[in-house]
Each structure stands twice: as structure tokens, then as C-alpha cells.
């Protein structure tokens, strides 16, 4: 009788362990995703500053600057789904990259103290965002492993936990450089 109770207690304990570890992993993923959100917001906050600094110099990129301001307004307005957030973030990243390349054509701007400081801050935020993405991918991998590997996979299917997607680099960035087309130019 008491033997049966002990076995039952051990099984119960085991189930609780599995359950808790899954919850922990899921929360870790959400936690890191939250950090990415905070960092993205930090970057969005820099955009008005960037625009006001560069617009007096950059006459030809007026269109881009208006566009990025509009995107920022959309991003901070809230009520976006996670997928939309990621999508918008990709677009903003690309546009910011474009602006930074265009800066090369404006030596006065490049020497502007304000701009230099801003560039440093942006570099830092970008680096932090990339770190947060890597952390997110690591925690998603950890979570996915738990969802698919024994013995937690039993528990996961009971809790209807599904695999999550890792962050992927934008399609454009991933494409290999076509060397041949470079030479044909």
C-alpha cells in the first residue's frame, strides 16, 4: 500500500518537473522576445534625432527620410502583431542601412559631431538587437528541443505546445553574391 503511494508520488513529482521545465522554457522565449521589443523601441526613439540631424545635409534622400519617419510612427503606435513587428523592423533596418551608406556622399555630415555621436549610439543599439536575436534563437532552440525530445515531448503534446520559429535573416541578405553577374557589368 505505502509502496504504491511512494511510486505515485515519484511519478507525480516527475510530471511536475517536466511541466515546470516546459513552462520555464516558454517563458524564457517570451522574456527574450520582450527584450527585443524594448531594444527595437530604443532604436525607434533614435530615428527622429537621426532625421533632424541629417536632413539639412541630405538633399537627395528627402523621400527616404519621410518614409522612415512614417514607419517609425507606425511602429510606436502599438497594436501590431508579432509578425508585423518583425516585418516592419526588417524594413527599417534596411532603410537605416541605406541612409548610412548615403552618408558617405556627404563629408560635412560625416564630420558632424552630433552625427558621429548618433552613429555610435545606433551601432550600439544594432549590436544589442543582434545579441537579443541570438539570445532569442538560443532560447527558441532550447524550447524546441524540449518540445520534440523525450521525455518532455509527451508533456508538450498534452500541453499543446508547438515548435516556435527562430529569427531568420531577411531573404535579401541571405542570397549568395552572384560573382558572374558582377563581372558581366
Amino acid at each position: 500500500m505505502s509502496m504504491g503511494l511512494i511510486v505515485l508520488a515519484v511519478i507525480g513529482f516527475f510530471i511536475i518537473m517536466l511541466y515546470n521545465s516546459l513552462i520555464g522554457k516558454k517563458n524564457q522565449v517570451e522574456n527574450v522576445f520582450g527584450s527585443i521589443d524594448t531594444l527595437l523601441k530604443k532604436r525607434y526613439d533614435l530615428i527622429p534625432n537621426l532625421v533632424s540631424t541629417v536632413q539639412t545635409y541630405m538633399q537627395h534622400e528627402r523621400g527616404t527620410l519621410t518614409e522612415i519617419t512614417a514607419m517609425r510612427a507606425k511602429a510606436v503606435s502599438g497594436n501590431l502583431s508579432d509578425d508585423e513587428k518583425v516585418d516592419l523592423d526588417n524594413k527599417v533596418s534596411k532603410m537605416m542601412g541605406g541612409i548610412m551608406v548615403a552618408v558617405e556622399n556627404y563629408p560635412d555630415l560625416k564630420a558632424n559631431q552630433n552625427f558621429i555621436q548618433l552613429q555610435r549610439t545606433l551601432n550600439e543599439v544594432e549590436e544589442q538587437i543582434s545579441a537579443a536575436r541570438r539570445a532569442y534563437n538560443a532560447s527558441v532552440t532550447d524550447y524546441n528541443n524540449a518540445v520534440e525530445m523525450l521525455p518532455t515531448s509527451f508533456m508538450a503534446s498534452m500541453m499543446t505546445y508547438k515548435r516556435k520559429q527562430v529569427f531568420e535573416t531577411a531573404e535579401k541578405e541571405r542570397q549568395n553574391i552572384d560573382v558572374k553577374s558582377l563581372f558581366n557589368k
Binding site: V32, R120, E124, Q128, S130, A131, A132, R134, S139, D142
Partner: protein, 318 residues
Amino acid sequence: MRSLDELKNFYDTILYPELNVLEAHRIKARNKILIAAAIILPVALFVLMYIAKNASGNSLFFVGMIVFFVLGGIYHFATKEYVQNFKTGIIEKLVKFIDQNLEYSRNNHISQTAFMNSKIFNHNPDRFNGDDYVKGKIGQTNLEFSELHAKYITRDSKGRTQEHTIFKGLFFIADFNKKFNGKTIILPDTAERIFGQLGTMLQSMNKFRGQLIRLEDPEFERMFAVYGDDQIEARYILSTSLMKRITDFKRRTSRTIYLSFVGSKIYIAVSCLKDLFEPRVFRTMLDFTPIKEYFEDLQMAVSIVEELNLNTRIWTKE
């Protein structure tokens, strides 16, 4: 970065004349030791034989210890002047040769506070000493390093003390080029190498160090285990390029290395069994090989700044 050819040239023109003078000091010191040993050892042997007949093993051990310490003391005093001259004559010049901005001080070392601040070693040392302290600025990066030997002492039930080494080798501190708040510690990965997957599990249970941080560079993961208190910050510090640079550094030095990032500084401990930057007493110093070794050890420390790209200041930290 100085090349080997430059060093050879420097050796021929500057160091060789110095070494010639030092050689006379060396021979004098060596002779003193040999004479002292020639007197003490026969006497000691005689006493030991006498005791062996009449007394217990314990006093045999006791006399052995006395002889050992007396010889050690004589060695120390006989070579003191020679070692001093060697350090100011050779090591200091080598340091200046590597970079004019570096200052050398032979008796100083990294402080115990700094050593403990690194959080690499948890054990509080009972004995802490070192020498050959170098300090300076390479580009925009402040750095300092010295040789260190930290030990702790245990006592067994019979009251005998025993010394255990916590760390022996070169300890390096530099300004890190990114701002951060928490701590990140990189230790040699022994558990994973021996136990594989199980090792990783054991590591993640080591809550004492903080969270285990699993990174995506498989080679880095094989060599090191990373602990920290912030998953994102650790990755902010350990960018993919820095991980690559650390693995390259580790492979090139092929020594056990520990790293940590605390309070906007990077700490690196490179362990080494032999004493660094010490002159030879029983063999001639008029040789390029030992000089090359001193140079390489110094260069290894100084080159960390370049190898880990610490002068790249594109982030908010100036």
C-alpha cells in the same frame, strides 16, 4: 607589432652588450651557489646518516626540510642582484621595445582586489604574490598585466599545512570597448569535453556562477563554458567575431585561459606552470632563444588588445 627580424636586430645592437655584462654577474652568482652547496650537502648528509641510525623518520624529514630551505635562501640571496640587473637591463628594455607607451615595474603586480573583482576564481587566496608588472595604453585601450601566483592553504587533522595553487600565470586587465552592467565569465570547458551532453546538463545546474549561456559557435562552445547574469548582455559582449578571435587566441597560445567581463573591463588569465621573465642561472644567457621566449610572452599579452579588437571604438564608449 614587432617582427622577429626587428627583435634580432634589437638583440644584436642593444641587448647583447647588456647580456655580456650580465653574464659576469651570472657566473658569480652560480659559483656562490655551487660553493655553498658543496659545503652544506656533505654536512647535511653526515647529519642525516647520524640521525637515521639513532632517531625516528620524523626528525629525518625535519632535517631534510631545513637543508632545503637553507639552500633555497642561499639561492635567493646569491641571485638577487643578478635577477634585479637582468630585469632592469633586459626585461624593461624589451617592454619598451614592444611599445614606448608601456611602463614596467619589476616588483609590482596586479592587486588582489583586481584579481578577486575578475570573478574568475572564487577561492579567496591566502598567499598572493607576483611580479613583472606592465601598464600602459595601446591605442585607446588602457591595459595592465603581471605575473601572479595565488594560493590557498589547508590544514589536515595532524596540523600539517598544504598549499594549493588557485592560479599561476599571466593575469591581464584591459578596458573593454563596450558598455555593460553585469558580469560574464568564460571558463575552460572541462565538463563538456569529458561528459559531452551530460556535462552541459551539469553545467546548467551550476547556479553558483550564474546562468549558463549557450552560444552558437560550436568551436567556442567546445573550448569554453560561459556563465553570466544576462543572456542578452553576454551575447552583446561576445559578438560572433569576438568568439572567433578568442578561439584563435586560445589555439595560438595553446594554454588554459580564463576570461571575464566585469565593470566595463576585460580580465584574462593565462595559466602557465613555469615562472615567467626569470633569468637562467645555471646556463648561459648569451643566447637568442630565452630572449625570444621573454619577447613572445610579453608580446602575447600586449597583442591581446589588437587580437580582440579592443581599439575598435564604434560604440558609445569612448
